[in-house]
């Protein structure tokens, strides 16, 4: 499963390269690749954030195995997006790039989102999870919501009048965040009385012992 998802996730990139070689990027190819990589960054952020809700809804624990990869693909497309902006769009004109980051809110928030993704990608290895400890790691990786929100804002502030696509991304993000908040509240409500003690709450997704912990938690969180 992981390999096929990996190939699937690589497809937008391959498709773009194919278009670049065959001239299929249209009249303004630089704009096209910038927009495409940005779009796929948001898409992969949403997919990453959808993993946990989907697991709970479908009751299919192994889905968690995809989360890290999807998140890293979001980071991959974000880096590509930024590299294209710096290297091709601005042609390494540092003064203009700095001016953009400082003075143009949509670029400021986009850059901030990338900066947030950076430590998340860096701490995505098993070793780093161990070093940080599950709880701290979890807290750090909640930042992905902030990055996604800034990413949506980046898109929203960039468009001229047609806000449909950024609004859809925003709605998806709100739905995913809402689902998590509600399910967490439900879980807290349920666990407290049965567990007798305090603070026995299972942290949302213990990333370390993925599958087993996931299943255990799923049981306690499932409606029936």
């Amino acid at each position: 499963m992981r390999l096929s998802v990996f190939l699937l996730a690589l497809f937008p990139f391959a498709w773009m390269v194919y278009h670049a070689v065959t001239g299929g990027l249209g009249t303004n190819p630089i704009e096209a690749v910038t927009h495409r990589t940005g779009w796929w960054t948001l898409a992969f952020l949403m997919l990453t954030l959808a993993v946990t809700p989907l697991r709970q809804l479908l009751g299919w624990g192994p889905l968690i195995k995809l989360r890290r990869m999807l998140g890293l693909f979001a980071f991959f497309y974000a880096s590509l997006h930024f590299a294209i902006y710096v290297g091709i769009d601005q042609f390494f004109a540092l003064d203009y790039i700095l001016e953009d980051i400082m003075d143009r809110p949509y670029i400021t928030v986009g850059f901030a989102a990338l900066l947030i993704l950076l430590p998340l990608a860096a701490t995505s290895t098993k070793k780093m999870i161990k070093r940080l400890g599950g709880k701290r790691w979890n807290r750090l990786h909640k930042l992905v919501y902030v990055a996604a929100a800034l990413g949506v804002l980046h898109f929203l502030w960039l468009v001229k009048a047609d806000t449909r696509e950024p609004t859809i991304f925003g709605a998806i993000l709100v739905a995913l965040l809402g689902f998590r908040l509600v399910s967490e509240r439900l879980r807290r409500f349920r666990i407290r009385p049965t567990a007798g003690g305090r603070r026995l709450r299972v942290s949302p997704e213990p990333p370390r012992v993925e599958s087993r912990a996931g299943r255990v938690k799923l049981k306690s969180a499932s409606p029936r």
């Binding site: 303004n28 203009y96 001229k160």
Partner: protein, 317 residues
């Protein structure tokens, strides 16, 4: 090349595009060389021989820089902002086939002695098209160089005899969601409205275009008749015009109405006044890798700057 009635042009009469481009290059080069040697008198007749320039056209050639190469026909006709057919750049080329450009009338109203409903073919007969090569600078910071076919807006306006009360001209695009599917979504308020101050409209650089590259204007470029005001951002050059109204008050143009702090009435190309969200200092010429600096009034400062002397261009963006 003159087209008096673009609808009558047969494909066989149209100059092959590469030939066309080569000829343009030749003319520009010769004109440049002539001017360089102080032989403007020689260059003048040469330009006249090509049959596509008048007084203002000559000035345009001079204003044009050597590196202003024509943007290929395919790019001019496949990368368009024409929200009536969708907000994607490639949407108009895909969707504009639903636009019916005949029969077509232009309604003239307001402060003038000759209001009425004018048939497009009568307009075309009356005002022969000539070629004008203009830079087009979009507010989104990309640009093209387009060989338009058209006639001075001033010629039409004079014939309509505006009264002394006429201070502005307001233009409107067709409103018909069946022909313009993009109008089913309220991205902007429909119909699209634009306007010019009377002196701007009378300026010899402002034209009504009915064609490009020697061909009838493609639907996605604003057929059958559109404004071209080369010293202003592209959104001022309203497409598929169905009405013209002479007014005492400044018209409220669509983008200014939609986002007033970002788009104004004047919308003169100005590298020193940024869009609130992005820089206007540079632009990407379609087909080029590196951005190039944007010129004041899109390079037509010599011809139009006097229209705005004393006007705070930062305030009246």
């Amino acid at each position: 090349m003159l087209i008096k009635r673009p609808a009558d042009i047969r494909e066989s009469e149209v100059t092959n595009e590469q030939l066309y481009i080569d000829r343009r290059k030749f003319i520009t080069t010769v004109a440049g060389a002539g001017a360089g040697l102080g032989l403007a008198a020689t260059a003048g007749p040469l330009l006249a021989c090509s049959g596509d320039t008048r007084a203002a056209g000559g000035a345009i050639e001079e204003a044009g820089r050597q590196d202003d190469e024509l943007t290929p026909f395919e790019d001019v006709t496949s990368y368009n902002n024409f929200y009536e057919f969708g907000t994607g750049k490639d949407d108009p080329a895909k969707n504009a086939h639903t636009l019916r450009t005949r029969p077509w009338t232009v309604t003239v109203e307001g402060e003038c002695n000759k209001p009425g409903v004018y048939d497009i073919d009568d307009i075309l007969k009356r005002f022969p098209a000539e070629e004008r090569i203009y830079r087009l600078r979009c507010v989104e910071a990309w640009s093209m160089v387009i060989p338009w076919m058209g006639f001075p807006l001033a010629d039409l306006i004079k014939s309509l005899e505006p009264t002394s009360q006429a201070k502005f001209v307001e233009f409107r695009t067709l409103l018909d969601p069946d022909q313009m599917p993009g109008q089913r979504r309220r991205v902007l308020e429909w119909p699209y409205v634009e306007g010019l101050r009377m002196d701007e409209a009378m300026h010899p650089l402002a034209i009504f275009s009915v064609g490009l590259y020697g061909k009838v204007l493609p639907n996605q470029n604003g057929a059958p008749i559109r404004l071209v005001v080369p010293w202003k951002y592209g959104f001022k050059s309203i497409k598929s015009v169905v009405s013209l109204r002479f007014t005492r008050d400044m018209p409220l143009n669509s983008w200014a109405k939609s986002i007033p702090n970002e788009y104004g009435f004047y919308a003169n190309v100005n590298p020193e006044v940024d869009h609130p969200r992005w820089s206007q200092a540079r632009e990407r010429r379609i087909g080029e890798l590196r951005k190039r600096p944007t010129l004041m009034f899109n390079g037509y400062a010599e011809q139009v700057a006097s229209l705005y002397s004393g006007l705070d261009l930062r305030k009246y963006y």
